[in-house]
């Protein structure tokens, strides 16, 4: 069944997706990590060049192989356990539609604004749209609560690149993978207890040996392998994965 074309299910799906999408698709911060090479996984007819379609993972898929080294570097923002989606993006901001470029930017400006006042450092300064923190460090059950995709989207829109948490709620994790907005990583220990907001850190993703390096404390932490989500991330998100598997038409098909 994996190889069966879905056009038998939905005959209206075009054989090729040559029509350009709305212009211009928004730039996700993931695009900062430009692919090292381009392969024949050609999606150019689908979008107005050179930006990808909805998922920035699509661009990475043009080059990314599981062995490719990915690096995120910047300041850490540390939160605790059970950071739910209402704290990540309060419900009143859900009227913003993530697929609308202007509203996407606005979502970023509200990222983590739901955190209680005990968090003295704000993730995004009032009046700003971008965060100065690249890596969110969390505890257990990060992203619990709602299925709202606005949660990983707002973090990505604000400019964060990765979350390193002890564990995730499943819908948040899945949405992070599907959208490509933020890279969800599992730590083996409670890094949220050992890192402070403002620490400078690097996340290095390698085949079987990913690490979080806290330059401020000098400590290094092993990160767990991405698991079953790996093939989807490596392909470039659910749409790219489905195209690779022949499930939906690829733009390259004649």
């Amino acid at each position: 069944m994996a190889a069966a074309s879905l056009r038998s299910v939905n005959p209206t799906l075009p054989r090729t997706l040559a029509s350009p999408t709305r212009s211009p698709p928004f730039q996700s911060p993931f695009l900062r990590f430009a692919p090292a090479s381009t392969t024949s996984f050609n999606l150019k007819p689908l979008v107005t060049a050179p930006a990808p379609s909805s998922s920035p993972f699509v661009t990475r898929s043009a080059a990314a192989s599981p062995q490719e080294r990915k690096t995120f570097h910047g300041l850490c923002y540390v939160v605790g356990d059970n950071i739910d989606t209402d704290q990540i993006i309060p419900a009143e901001f859900l009227t913003l539609v993530p697929s609308n470029p202007d509203e996407y930017q606005k979502l970023g400006s509200h990222a983590l604004v739901g955190l209680p006042a005990s968090y003295e450092d704000r993730f995004v300064e009032p009046g700003e749209t971008k965060t100065k923190y690249s890596i969110v460090i969390g505890g257990e059950n990060f992203g619990c609560g709602s299925s709202r995709e606005h949660a990983p989207v707002c973090l990505g829109a604000a400019g964060a690149k990765a979350v390193v948490a002890q564990s995730y709620a499943r819908i948040f994790f899945r949405n992070s993978v599907a959208t490509g907005e933020i890279y969800p990583l599992d730590s083996e220990v409670r890094v949220c207890d050992e890192c402070r907001t403002g620490d400078v850190a690097t996340v290095e993703l390698r085949e079987g040996d990913s690490v979080l390096i806290n330059h401020t404390t000098g400590k290094e932490y092993r990160l767990k392998a991405i698991g079953d989500a790996g093939p989807v991330i490596d392909a470039g998100g659910i749409f790219a994965y489905a195209r690779k598997a022949g499930m939906i038409p690829s733009a390259a098909a004649a």
Binding site: V9, R22, I238
Partner: protein, 504 residues
Amino acid sequence: MASSVISSSPFLCKSAQKDLGFPKSSQISVHRCQKRAISRKIVSVMAPQRSSSATGSVKTGMTMTEKILAKAAEKSQVVPGDNIWVNVDVLMTHDVCGPGAFGIFKREFGEKAKVWDPEKIVVIPDHYIFTTDKRANRNVDIMREHCREQNIKYFYDITDLGDFRANPDYKGVCHVALAQEGHCRPGEVLLGTDSHTCTAGAFGQFATGIGNTDAGFVLGTGKILLKVPPTMRFILDGEMPSYLQAKDLILQIIGEISVAGATYKTMEFSGTTIESLTMEERMTLCNMVVEAGGKNGVIPPDATTFNYVENRTSVPFEPVYSDGNASFIADYRFDVSKLEPVVAKPHSPDNRALARECKDVKIDRVYIGSCTGGKTEDFMAAAKLFHAAGKQVKVPTFLVPATQKVWMDVYALPVPGAGGKTCAQIFEEAGCDTPTSPSCGACLGGPADTYARLNEPQVCVSTTNRNFPGRMGHKEGQIYLVSPYTAAASALTGHVTDPREFLQ
């Protein structure tokens, strides 16, 4: 098969063994369970995990969820951990996530793309409806455009915001509407762009929440990539005390296993108590599965289910049941006759406490509504308690019927034992606020002008499903999650109150 040892505690808690290679996030459940149950004897029970033989010739017993997913993936057998492409029977979306989902659908499949099946998509505006927020209103308009263009059969539209009754198509809260309109059927796969889509598992189907991107994919293909979850079994036996409700049961369970206790897993509920529950009570139970991190909840369908479903749809369905030799990753047993009304204290759904132990907590308001606690039977229960008490509420008590049908029931149905009085009459006599227009309301805060939104740092007793900081609006608001009985009792005293104060 798993064996069990009965301890002397009122109910038995068996901790889940270490996981067997499932995503590591499930491991914290063991730690939490042991932390909470210090005074009780914990017996570790693990049903043996069987894997299919290499030749595939041995057929392993499957749980309900495994069977539903196997059938939807056109496979004869699946085991937990399998990543499979699954056919979707129903996709639901609402005003908050619909625009984004369709936006992604168009971007990925093209502006001229058509949805995979315009009769399998149900669009239910319900979240931010009765508000002057322009973006919220616009989102309903956006959905109208998409539904018109795609010829979507089920669009429960609203155009006159001033009078919900002037909108014949409008329903209200999506999860209640799905059930009431006959979209929930045993054996099917139902996805929704809302975490409480798991509510529909009460009908013996696989139902779970997804994000916009996944929904955009389903819109075009009618399929989704899913990993088969392992099943935790919760067997609830014993006669349900008259003062206890399904909300107490699920709060009890979440308090037991924690907010991540069921992450990536199925929660299967069975037992004599479950069999005695009405459909609406089963929906309440499955509704909060996501609050334990669960992927989906299921209840084996029976005559109660078939009766409800067949009265609302003529679409044929095929119920499935867990095999006798199916493998479960954990087993929990509860003697329901020994349970007491509970609350979830701020700020977590697993912050469980006995209602009677919170009687000194002074409250500022009571909220009865949402997919969790705003159905007809929820209002009936509250009305029954108000009537038994014969007193007036001491704090503002907000009533938000989940759907048009619920609102009509509140005004039309006589409450048993109340001499012919309707819920609405009893609520009025008790001094509650007038039942408002049906929607999700203030369960999740919403735009600033949402009715009953928590705009000040007050203490609110609520029949809703989450109480994380800021959930109903104000970040310093304190939300106690309770059953409708407990909500009504608390309204009468102005403190968190065990309903037995008025029901016995």
